[in-house]
Symmetry: D2
Subunit: 133 residues, 4 copies
C-alpha cells in the first residue's frame, strides 16, 4: 500500500452487499465520494456548506477498475491523490482491503466547479489545493 495524500478507514456495511454476496459496484463510488468529502473536511471545508454558498463541485467523469470483491466483515482503507489539471480537479483513488492490503478498486474522478450556476475555471480548487502546502 503506497503513500497517498489522504486516507480514511471504512467498514463494509452489509446493506452495501448485493445478492452476489459482495459489495455492489456502485457503492465503491459512494466510498470514493465520501473519501473526497472527508478530504475536504480535513482542509476545513464542507460539501454541504459549499452548496449553500452557491458553490457546487460536480463530477464530470469517473472510471473505476474493480480488482478484488469486498465482502461482509471487510474493512477498507480508502486513499486519494489529487491534482488540478486545466479547470478540473482530478482525484486518483484507491480502495485497499485492510486485512491484507490487496487493492480492491482503483478510480479516477474528474470534477468541475460551478459557482452560482456557472462553470468556473477552477479558482476555488486552486485555493483548496493551496491549503495542502
Amino acid at each position: 500500500m503506497k503513500e497517498h495524500q489522504f486516507k480514511i478507514q471504512l467498514k463494509v456495511r452489509d446493506y452495501e452487499c448485493d445478492l452476489q454476496g459482495v459489495v455492489n459496484n456502485a457503492n465503491y463510488q459512494h466510498y470514493m465520494e465520501h473519501t473526497r468529502h472527508e478530504f475536504l473536511e480535513s482542509l476545513g471545508e464542507n460539501f454541504g456548506a459549499w452548496h449553500e454558498q452557491g458553490l457546487d463541485a460536480f463530477v464530470s467523469s469517473v472510471s473505476i477498475q474493480y480488482k478484488q470483491s469486498l465482502r461482509s466483515g471487510d474493512s477498507i482503507i480508502s486513499c486519494l491523490d489529487v491534482e488540478k489539471v486545466g479547470i478540473k480537479l482530478v482525484f486518483i483513488q484507491y480502495i485497499y482491503r485492510l486485512s491484507d492490503g490487496v487493492l480492491a478498486a482503483k478510480g479516477k474522478v474528474e470534477n468541475v466547479m460551478v459557482k452560482d450556476g456557472k462553470l468556473t475555471r477552477g479558482e476555488d480548487f486552486e485555493a483548496l489545493l493551496n491549503k495542502l502546502k
Copy 2:
C-alpha cells in the same frame, strides 16, 4: 388486493437485494417514499419543487411490517391510502407482489409540513387532499 386511493407498479432492481438474496428492508421505505411522491405528482405537485418554494414535508414516523420477502425478478404493486389526522398527513401503504397478489409489506407513514423552517398546522396537506375530491 383490495382497492386503494393510489398505486404504481415497480420492478425490483437487483442492487436493492442484499447478501440474503432478498430486497433489503430499507428499500421498502424507498418504494413507499417513491409511491407517495408519485401520488403527489398525480395531483400536479412535485416534491422537489415544493422544497425550492420553502415547503418541506418531513416524515415524523414510519412503521413497517414485513410479511413476505421480495426477490430478483419480482414486480410489485405499491399502493397507498391517505388521510389528514390533526396536523399530520398519514399514509397507509401496501406493497403487493405482482405475480400472486401476496402482501409483502404494510406501512404507516406520518408526515408533518414545514414552511420556511416552521412547523405548520398542515393547511397545505388539506389543500392537497381537496384535489382528490
Copy 3:
C-alpha cells in the same frame, strides 16, 4: 444520552442526504442495521457468515420516530438495547447527534430467525444473548 448495551460512532455521508439537504429517512434504517450487525461482530458473529451457514435473521417489523434531521458534517452515536421477546429478538435503537447529544431518531426493530428456510423459536438468539452475560 443514557447508557445503552452497545454503541458505535458514524459520520453522515453526503450521498445519504436527499434534495431536502437532510439524511433521507430510509438511511436511518441503514444506520440501525449496520449498528445491529456491528453488535453481532462484537459478539464474535458475522451476518454474512450466518447466511452462508443457512442462518438468516429477518426483520419482521420496524418502527422509527424521527426527532431531529441530520445534515452534512454531522456525526452520530448509534446505540442499541436488545432483549428476546417470545421467538423474536427485539432491538430498541437510538441515534444521537454527536455534537450536542440530541436524539435524532428512535426505533424498535423486531427480528425472527430462519434456519435452512424454516422459522425457528429463536434458540440462536438466546445463544447470542448468553454471550452478553
Copy 4:
C-alpha cells in the same frame, strides 16, 4: 437519440437526488446496472437465478461521462449496446432525459463471467448474444 439494442424508461426517484438537488453520481451506475439486468430478462435470463446456478457476471471496469444533471420529476430513457470483446462482455450505455432527448450520461461497462468461482473465457456471454440474432 440514436437507435440502440435495448432500452427502458425509468423515472428519477427523489431519494436518488442528493443535497445538490440532482441525482447522485453513483445512482447512474444503478440505472445502468438495472438496464443491463432488464436486458438479460428480455433474453429470458435472470441475474439472481444465474447467481444461484453458480454463474456470476462481475463488472471489471466502468467509466461514465456525466453530461447533464438529472433532477426530481425527470424521466429517462436508458439504452445500451453490447458486444463481446475477448473474454469480456462490453456494454456502451446511454442515459437520455425523456423530456428533450438530451444525453445525461454515457458509460462503458466491462464484465467478466465467473463460473463456480473460476474466471471463464466468456462462453456464456457468447450464448447470450446468440439469442439476439
